[in-house]
Point group: C2
Chain length 365, copies 2
Amino acid sequence: MMIDEILEKHCADFFIQHSDINLYYATRFKALNCVFYIVGRKGDFLIVPDMEKNRALRESRVKNVISLGDLGYHERRKSVKDSRKAIAEVLADFLRNKGAKKIVVPTDFPAFLTVRFIEEFRVEVIENPFLKIRAVKSPEEVEMIRDVSTAVIDAFNFSLDIIKKGEKNCDYIRDEIEKFLFLKGYLAENTIVSSGEVSSDPHSSGGTVEDHVLIDIFPKSRKHSYYSDFTRTVIVRKNMEIEEMLEAVIEAQESAISIIRDGVTARDVHYKVCDVLESYGYKTIRQKADEGFIHSTGHGIGLELHEEPRIFDNDEVLRSGMVFTVEPGLYYRKVGGVRVEDVVVVKRDGCEVLTRYPKRIYLKV
Amino acid sequence: MMIDEILEKHCADFFIQHSDINLYYATRFKALNCVFYIVGRKGDFLIVPDMEKNRALRESRVKNVISLGDLGYHERRKSVKDSRKAIAEVLADFLRNKGAKKIVVPTDFPAFLTVRFIEEFRVEVIENPFLKIRAVKSPEEVEMIRDVSTAVIDAFNFSLDIIKKGEKNCDYIRDEIEKFLFLKGYLAENTIVSSGEVSSDPHSSGGTVEDHVLIDIFPKSRKHSYYSDFTRTVIVRKNMEIEEMLEAVIEAQESAISIIRDGVTARDVHYKVCDVLESYGYKTIRQKADEGFIHSTGHGIGLELHEEPRIFDNDEVLRSGMVFTVEPGLYYRKVGGVRVEDVVVVKRDGCEVLTRYPKRIYLKV
């Protein structure tokens, strides 16, 4: 639903977005603090600090740019002696002058404004409508995610070269991956390179390369700010248990990808992963296991690393243009963890993998 | 004031901090979403997603770590069919069971929780108490900021070498600075390298090196996450107007630094800058000028680039251990901009500059 439909549905006059990634998405204005995007039935307004007004007029998609000074912020700040209170007052003035009776705000809207607005308007807290809007990507957005995906694979190949040379220190490999990407214009933080027992915790990084190494890289472009996310598990020494786990995970991932198309639900995809893994006797989150497949199947990706849609036990219907990860894994404390992750774009009759790369990687170190 | 004094002052039973940098500061737990730090009169609690419980027990300073699952989140999610509502319900249960009547939350506390809590408790929105606590740094924090300050100066020297070789492209110089810092373990984003007319906008970067170049670098450590912030204006070709502006800015900055000590107010420092600049006939923000010195004198720095104290026209009393920038500048649309910025730590009888570096830099290109 677009914002005008949201206003209609909630019988509201205005939706107010504070400065975060949704404001950037909607306006293409990179804002720090004290920026508000106000959407009404008759138009939209971008309210910015005085110093940002010219940049906002230049960079944002919004025509009605108003500075806090234009709204009488400085006089208010002097009289109420508190900058936040002054912002709340001038925004309330603005809404009142525009005839607002009811407003809708997103779940993470700041408390100081929420509480002030409740005094005067009917306020309803709603799931941020931009989260659903952002879930379906434009062709331009897909190209930006494809760009980062290409860089991720270059970085992964670079890390394989390091491992082939005999490097065993996961922290060192991680650091080299992040440097490689930065020099190419991408920022990767919290990259995971794990081995041995460390890899049995899906989010932990570190350890010494033993039988296998799990590499999960999720950089964003420093130019256009879109993310990609990619994981491979590399076998460096024979270990039947790990290799069997990896084979099951690859089959689960490929089975899940094979059913993705416009109209299937997130649950269909998640359960396909669980079906395959359970068929090999592994425990899954569907069975409330605390070892085995213990996380969700994937998450949307775009301007945020984790966004809509969530690929889990939920009813969300996947639509053409949605971009998300498919990343089953298996984790056993005494054995270690394996995971395989790709980014896909949903199409009418299937999906396209943006991170195409072999999944069976056996290195001779 | 510590949190127990805040509870006392507001006659409140609990203060609730959602996941942001203040939560990290208080608990040393790097949290993504859905983490809450709840401080009561009899103890504090860290509430985390199930998957994060072990890491929270390992990494955080809080002894009472409780998972959302421990609080019955999963059953609630099934019954209310909305993950946010379920979180609000289990947190409300927790507070009710602990006997809460009144709670205090910070200004940016999320609306979905604020509105739910108002139904059942007395809720007061307060300035986040951690902002004031964080303003005074421990000796360990000062050492971390000193570490980044050293790196900033290395990066600045590196950029001078590039300019000496005749490089004229500000974007290229900026990119080289950011790469240099990343390879050393620091992340600089939105670095400003500006010249000519571009430099007349304090926040703009880019242009071609003409008579002078303004370089403003503010990286954080990728290891300990503390920031530094440093600006110098380099003269590369004779321009009397720019050089006179720079001399006035240097005198204003040094005069301001000379009065900083425990007990002076932010206004004293800000007005000292204005006094000096006005004495040379430049317009300042105190006179509501829109050219000249058009921003505040500085800002606290630590885990955030901009934090308390704000060095502006305000009553804040500067205390030993506070760390902030002193960064006067002059900006004229037809001439360009100059700025000089250092980071200082307040001491009982003065202050220490953490970014010691010459201020008059005349390069022969």
